[in-house]
């Protein structure tokens, strides 16, 4: 029995179908991140879990109990909002204690609980201030304190970091993760930032246009995407998507990629069975930038390396890495190389492809082409 069970949930606002049957299950202690571009229905789903939006169809279960009809205050949840939603007329202590006060917790118990949370979040010195006297990061902490103080079964976060500046966002992200690890709470977190999703989640649910695209651990969503959308959405810089053709060459399956000078034949090692059916057909190949490197930094232990000489179009150093842009199959391709001795643009250099990490997609349905055995945890929502 899963702890939070979102079963075939639909949401309609009049004619518009915002959520089209979403199924998600998570266990106690999980950190579920709902991620997707704006308008994908992730915030609506969160509001439905909170009880702030009604459920048109389907069922929500928390710890085995149906919560569809329960008032938000009866669901044993707490929520942190994007705008923090602090009550401006109350002090920080008043804000944190308001939920307890409404639940008729006596004053002494309230004070102890507020003190405990304030120590946890290091905001003891702010308790007597009003929200208007706080900085963005401090407000964020108070909003989290208000959620933590009630010790609910489930925490909901609605894009809590999007109003902070970049530096503070990274710090708060770390703190939220530490808090989750220390307290072992169950969290549902909405964001449009795929880096936030990758760093925080134990489970990621990628959504688009009201449909769940993939549900899985961050690593499985990253390495084993269900479709072109997930492949392109997760990861920064994003996955290289290159048009290719599957062919048989000397008894082995290869992917043929046109370059300006020659045709590249990358050996197929992954999803070989499924791709046999695609012989002589066009596919879309997906390769992460870190799977295309210089020969010296290629991963020869686990991976299978294929090397080729290609022309360098552009070199983008970021300090830690060096991104080298070349052209494959008519599109720009990012390769991540070691900084130090960058190749000159316009010259030929040697690239190493880790073909064991290469994935293939159906260019028409955008669905992943994969062997049966390696099918991920969630059913594929194809957009055919």
């Amino acid at each position: 029995m899963s702890f939070l069970h979102i079963h075939h949930v639909h949401k309609r606002f009049g004619e518009t179908h915002v959520l089209k049957g979403v199924d998600i299950e998570i266990e106690k202690g999980d950190f579920l991140v709902l991620v997707g571009p704006s308008g994908c229905g992730k915030s609506t789903l969160l509001n439905m879990i909170a009880g702030l939006d009604s459920i048109s169809e389907g069922e929500l279960r928390l710890d085995g109990q149906r919560i569809n009809e329960l008032h938000p205050s009866k669901r044993d949840i707490a929520m942190v909002f994007q705008s923090y939603a602090l009550y401006p007329s109350m002090t920080v202590a008043g804000n944190i204690g308001f939920g307890l006060e409404m639940r008729k917790v006596p004053r002494a118990g309230r004070r102890a609980a507020i003190q405990r949370v304030a120590e946890l979040l290091q905001i003891e010195n702010l308790l007597k201030r009003k929200p208007a006297q706080l900085s963005g990061g401090q407000r964020q902490r108070v909003a989290m304190g208000r959620a933590l103080v009630r010790d609910p079964q489930l925490f909901l976060f609605d894009e809590p970091l999007s109003n902070l500046d970049a530096k503070l966002r990274v710090d708060m992200r770390t703190e939220i993760k530490q808090l989750h690890q220390r307290l072992g709470t169950t969290i549902v977190y909405v964001t449009h930032d795929q880096i936030e999703a990758m760093t925080l989640a134990t489970r990621i649910a990628v959504m688009r246009a009201g449909e769940l695209q993939q549900l899985g651990t961050p690593q499985s969503v990253y390495d084993d995407p269900n479709n072109l959308f997930v492949a392109g959405f997760m990861g920064s810089p994003s996955m290289n998507l290159v048009p290719a053709r599957i062919a048989e060459k000397a008894g082995a399956l290869v992917a043929l990629i046109e370059t300006e000078k020659a045709t590249l034949a990358l050996p197929i090692v992954r999803d070989r069975q499924a791709l046999t059916d695609w012989c002589d057909k066009a596919v879309m190949l997906g390769l992460r930038p870190e799977a295309i490197t210089d020969p010296a930094s290629a991963n020869r232990d686990g991976g299978e390396i294929f090397e080729a000489d290609l022309e360098v179009d552009l070199v983008e150093p970021t300090g830690a890495d060096l991104y080298v842009v070349t052209r494959l199959g008519g599109t720009n391709v990012n390769a991540r190389m070691r900084p130090g001795s960058p190749p000159q643009s316009g010259t030929q250099t040697r690239f190493a492809f880790d073909v064991s990490r290469m994935v293939a997609f159906d260019p028409d349905s955008e669905a992943r082409i994969r062997d049966r055995a390696s099918v991920g945890s969630a059913p594929l929502a194809s957009s055919a």
Binding site: N47, H71, P72, F81, S83, Y87, S89, G99
Partner: protein
């Protein structure tokens, strides 16, 4: 600014550009200085003079002021303005807030209802006063209608009852201004972050507590504006009372403004009238100046 080297014509045009705005604005400045501040000064002087029917510039010290404060009618007028002002401000604020909260429940036809409530503000006080005078007149309005319908024992004669007449003025004035106050509160309510209300719902606060603890405290600036606007309307109230009761029955609904008018123009006591006018100005200034100061200062901080 070195015109010395430039040709003569350009200097004239530049000087014109420099002076034009000042020239255009100066007539209205002069008019306001004379007709507003000049007459304020003149009235203030008259209140310290011996003026009767005509202005008399002989200095009389505080004689008119002491006569004003020992006047029995002035006492009634002050008492009435307290009763009227307090009831008017409190009723308008409470009813306006209540209407705004009810209108804010995402009801249908909100636009039409808002207009209906706001419409009395479009009428002049004279029209409001006359209409309510007809409506409350025992021989003409509500009471007669009830009698005609067969309810013989119905009686509502506050308008001609010296003890109750001031309350009829309150009813008419509240009817007129409540919609306006409602519009102010409605704007304030619309400015409140919806996420905050969601947070309070999750915190388990019932609707009335969300209003009492979270929403209404945030409307403090609206309360301040509403009270200042209503207070100065109350002190200035003249036309409504003249149209509705004429200050009567007897002196029962006299207020400082009607007092001033009758002493200046029918009782030939210009000095006392001037003193009462200056007193009203002082009270309004005491309300408005701190308010304007706090409103105009805010953007800079």
């Amino acid at each position: 600014m070195s015109d010395t080297a430039s040709p003569h014509g350009k200097g004239v045009r530049e000087r014109l550009q420099h002076w034009l705005p000042k020239l255009v604005l100066s007539p209205s400045c002069v008019l306001i200085l004379f007709f507003v501040y000049g007459f304020i000064a003149w009235t203030s002087y008259i209140s310290f003079s011996d003026s009767g029917m005509m202005p008399d510039y002989a200095w009389a010290g505080l004689r008119q002021w002491s006569r004003l404060w020992s006047s029995w009618t002035w006492g009634i007028a002050l008492h009435n303005i307290w009763v009227f002002g307090l009831l008017y401000i409190v009723s308008c604020t409470v009813l306006g807030l209540l209407l705004a909260i009810l209108l804010d429940q995402r009801i249908r036809a909100e636009g039409a209802l808002r207009t209906i409530y706001l419409y009395p503000m479009a009428l002049s006080f004279i029209v409001t006063g006359t209409a309510w005078q007809w409506f409350l007149n025992p021989g003409l309005g509500l009471e007669k209608t009830m009698h005609d319908l067969g309810w013989e024992s119905f009686s509502f004669n506050w308008l001609i009852d010296a003890n109750m007449a001031i309350y009829t003025v309150v009813i008419a004035a509240v009817w007129q201004a409540t919609g306006f106050v409602m519009a102010m509160f409605l704007a304030g309510l619309r400015g409140i972050d919806g996420e905050m209300i969601k947070a309070a719902q999750i915190d388990g606060a019932p609707a009335w507590k969300i209003y009492a603890r979270i929403i209404i405290p945030q409307l403090r600036p609206v309360f301040l504006s509403a009270i200042v606007v209503l207070a100065h309307l109350a002190i200035k109230s003249f036309d409504l009372i003249v149209a509705m009761t004429g200050g009567g029955p007897g002196n029962a609904t006299a207020v400082p403004a009607t007092f001033m008018y009758s002493y200046a123009f029918s009782r030939n006591e210009m000095g006392i009238a001037a003193a009462s006018a200056v007193f009203m100005l002082a009270v309004i200034a005491a309300l408005i100046i701190p308010y304007l100061y706090s409103e105009l200062r805010e953007p800079r901080s």
